[in-house]
């Protein structure tokens, strides 16, 4: 019981430290997504959107909102963990954790919860911004929406953690977000339904994991989707389990953390 209480205190300490870290630099972490998404809503929603017409039977700006929220959640949860964990490695303050009795799983949960909290907070901020541009927005399935929001934030926080484990320089933590995540997100149905694509591109798009995340969230918010929801949810949970196991194995072996 005493050991359990100690672990709980250490876990809360790490989560608090992680949250304080991104709140301390809120101008760099919280404001930019709100500004960027406002621009998306102005340009693609209010200016170009009416000329596009409807997408899957919905106003274009309405169709776009879940995609933009997901885009913010994915990039911010990933960026939070990859930059925070790489920074503690770079500054050697990871030693503060490694010399303590904290188990590896608590270290992983602490960093992932930091990423999840930032991702979810940004998601809420972007949703609030979207209400300025589309005040009549209503969420069709709140339970599915919240579940996908948290599951996505967990999934990409875990990915950020693995990226940070293998990173040896600041370049290494920007390569994957720039050259892998961003293109996949843009091509993952944030701005369009894959039903408007020719068959070959639609089939290729089905191999993009972002498509499942974005569409499951859109199903929760709007009730429309290009993919099977049970399959998509199953895949998200499956990859969370795989990535959690991989993170714990890497921490146990000391890859990137212990010499």
């Amino acid at each position: 019981m005493k050991r359990g209480n100690e672990i709980l205190v250490s876990l809360i300490t790490l989560i608090r430290k992680e949250i304080k870290r991104y709140l301390r630099i809120w101008v760099q972490t919280l404001v930019p997504p709100a500004v960027t998404m406002s621009l998306y809503f102005v340009i693609f929603g209010s200016l170009i959107g009416p000329r596009i017409g409807t997408m899957d039977g919905l106003d274009y700006i309405q169709f776009m909102i879940p995609g933009l929220i997901m885009m913010s959640v994915i990039t911010n949860s990933y960026a939070n963990v990859v930059s925070s964990f790489y920074s503690v490695k770079f500054q050697k303050s990871i030693e503060e954790l490694l010399v303590s009795p904290m188990p590896n799983w608590a270290i992983l949960v602490g960093f992932v919860m930091g990423g999840v909290s930032r991702g979810v907070l940004i998601g809420c901020i972007v949703f609030c911004v979207s209400l300025f541009f589309y005040p009549s927005f209503t969420i069709v399935n709140p339970l599915l929406t919240i579940s996908v929001l948290f599951l996505t934030a967990i999934l990409f926080s875990l990915m950020g953690f693995i990226n940070a484990i293998f990173a040896d320089s600041f370049d290494d933590i920007s390569i994957i977000p720039t050259f892998v995540l961003t293109p996949l997100i843009y091509l993952g149905g944030v701005f369009y339904s894959i039903n408007i694509l020719p068959d070959i591109w639609r089939n290729i798009s089905m191999g993009n994991p972002m498509l499942y995340v974005v569409n499951t969230f859109r199903e929760g918010m709007l009730g429309v989707s290009d993919v099977s929801i049970p399959f998509a949810l199953g895949m998200i949970i499956f990859f969370i389990i795989i990535l959690t196991s991989a993170c714990l194995l890497l921490l146990h072996r000391g890859v990137g953390t212990r010499q």
């Binding site: 050991r3 209480n5 100690e6 672990i7 205190v9 250490s10 809360i12 300490t13 790490l14 608090r16 430290k17 304080k20 301390r24 920074s87 503690v88 500054q91 050697k92 303050s93 990871i94 030693e95 503060e96 954790l97 490694l98 010399v99 303590s100 009795p101 904290m102 188990p103 072996r253 000391g254 212990r258 010499q259």
Partner: protein
């Protein structure tokens, strides 16, 4: 009560680059000891400490902290251990008080308790006035103190310091010596690595020397120093000389025209040397050890290995 604070058995470490850092170290440190772990750069000191602190993974061997095998119950062993690393390892942008309370939290100490402990520890180390300053604004000496505060916040029974006074001025170094002596007197076992051999001689009761990943000596400080056969002395004289005076059995060289270097064996009398110099009408104005006694012994042992 367990007799040993630390027991290391056949400890080996080979890095991925195939560098063999430790070739099978056996070492025991008694509870309450003030122990020096010395060796030249790259000898394996930091690898040994890293393995004890779980910052480095061992290739083979056993480590026990107060009888607790780190392979079987590392969390319990870590609770008894405090480590002051060689390099600064905190976030420079955090406040002093946050760094220490967070470290306490990682050891499972609640925020309320950690605030009390932090106040006591920071006051003991003269850091309380700087508690709300960002760590990056501290001087090198205060950063060192902060490292020690972090390591002591959970009241460890074994404290390991890896070159804690590197780059610290003499005044602060001596203050830290007093502080370490005080906590050792209160029962904390201390293991110290340092390149200042005067520091080890002043503070430590027992000593081990590592070189090329092997233990070349493990004994008491007193025993080690008693084995010193030859000591070097520097004599300032009142004459200007072109060449060193020739005195049988006392090898003398000129450091400069009025300074002599003399090697004196353990069984030789210094009085005899002075008599011989007086006979040559050379008066000694002052005299000092050429280097620290332990330093001479250390160089001799490392050269042998």
């Amino acid at each position: 009560m367990n007799q040993f604070a630390l027991e290391i058995t056949d400890l080996k470490k080979t890095y991925d680059s195939d560098v063999v850092a430790l070739k099978g170290i056996n070492l025991s440190v008694k509870e309450g000891d003030f122990f020096a772990l010395l060796g030249p750069n790259g000898a394996g000191k930091s690898s040994t400490i890293g393995i004890i602190a779980s910052l480095v993974t061992k290739t083979a061997g056993k480590v026990k902290i107060f009888g607790i095998d780190t392979d079987e119950n590392f969390p319990e062993a870590k609770r008894l251990l405090g480590v002051v690393s060689q390099e600064i390892n905190f976030n420079n942008f955090e406040k002093v008080i946050d760094i220490v309370t967070t470290q306490a939290g990682f050891y499972g100490i609640s925020l309320k308790d950690s605030m009390l402990k932090t106040e006591t520890t920071l006051k003991r180390l003269g850091l309380w006035e700087k508690r709300n300053e960002q760590a990056r604004t501290l001087s090198g000496g205060f950063k060192r103190r902060l490292m020690i505060a972090k390591a002591l916040i959970h009241e460890p029974k074994l404290l390991i310091l890896d070159e804690p006074t590197a780059g610290v001025d003499i005044e602060l170094r001596r203050e830290m010596w007093e502080f370490l002596k005080e906590i050792n007197a209160k029962g904390t076992t201390i293991i110290l690595t340092t390149h200042y051999l005067e520091e080890a001689e002043q503070l430590c009761k027992n000593i081990a020397i590592i070189d090329y990943g092997e233990l070349v000596e493990n004994t008491s400080m007193k025993d080690l120093l008693s084995r010193l056969d030859v000591q070097g002395f520097v004599l300032d004289i009142d004459k200007i000389l072109d060449q060193p005076p020739s005195i049988p059995k006392f090898p003398i060289t000129l450091e400069d025209s009025s300074t002599l270097n003399v090697s004196i064996k353990k069984d030789q009398s210094i009085n005899h040397l002075f008599e011989q110099l007086s006979a040559l009408d050379i008066n000694v104005l002052s005299m000092r050890n050429k280097s620290n006694r332990l330093e001479e012994m250390f160089i001799e042992m490392v050269n042998k290995s």
